[in-house]
């Protein structure tokens, strides 16, 4: 499975994490390509801080969304990604251009979950070879 993760919206990151963790529980190999807005969310100084991530749709409901997640004891979006990597062969790649847009030049600028920085050729090759594609 290949996930093109364009969004940096906290609700979509959470949804992507749930799908990714579910796929990992199913032992699926997954490659996640983090694009444009998504790349910002994976920066070290952004990823763990919900205050730095907005909700693209219905931004006024962000606090309600986060409060519900907490009440339901749903893990933060990063932990879904961590769990997925623990359970299965999950790779997370940041698009080189997307990284540069937000000042992330090196893989070390991003959280440890990120495996590498790649170009669009690798994204396209993965899409060609994968049987399931998700764009989030």
């Amino acid at each position: 499975m290949t996930i093109a993760l364009f969004s940096g919206s906290i609700d979509k990151l959470t949804g992507a994490g749930v799908l990714l963790a579910g796929a990992a529980a199913d032992d699926m190999d997954v490659e996640v390509y983090v694009l444009i807005q998504g790349a910002r969310a994976f920066l070290k100084d952004v990823a763990g801080d919900p205050a730095k991530l907005e909700m693209a749709e219905n931004p006024h409901l962000k606090e309600e969304f986060l409060a519900s997640l907490e009440k339901l004891k749903v893990m933060p979006w990063i932990e879904f990604f961590e769990t997925a990597k623990e359970l299965a062969n999950v790779k997370i790649y940041v698009c080189g251009l997307a990284g540069k847009i937000w000042g992330g030049e090196e893989v070390s600028d991003f959280i440890d979950l990120v495996d590498d920085i790649v170009g669009i050729g690798e994204v396209i090759t993965s899409l060609e070879e994968s049987d399931i594609h998700l764009f989030i």
Binding site: V18, A21, G22, A24, A25, D26, D27, L72, K73, V74, M75, T83, E86, L87
Partner: protein, 83 residues
């Protein structure tokens, strides 16, 4: 298995995932099953109604044997035998 047989099972591992919503119980089951050997029995406790369908489907797909579910007050006990 009928409910009486399920109640009398002696499980090798019990996973209490009642505090977490979907997909927490499935992830807990996936982690726990790695610690078990073929033929061992596991129960997953979940208060999430979606898990009642999720875990049997996952177990079947992964080759484990789904044995049945007991509905308790406010939660489920889902039983499976590891492949």
């Amino acid at each position: 298995m009928d409910q009486e047989e399920l109640k009398n099972l002696k499980v090798d591992k019990s996973v209490d995932a009642r505090a977490v919503a979907c997909p927490g119980p499935l992830l807990a089951a996936k982690k726990a099953v790695r610690e078990l050997e073929s033929g061992q029995l596991m129960e997953v406790l979940s208060a999430d109604s979606a898990t009642k369908r999720d875990i049997p489907k996952w177990a079947q797909k992964k080759g484990h044997e789904y044995l049945g579910t007991i509905e308790e007050s406010g939660f489920f006990r889902i039983y499976m035998k590891v492949k």
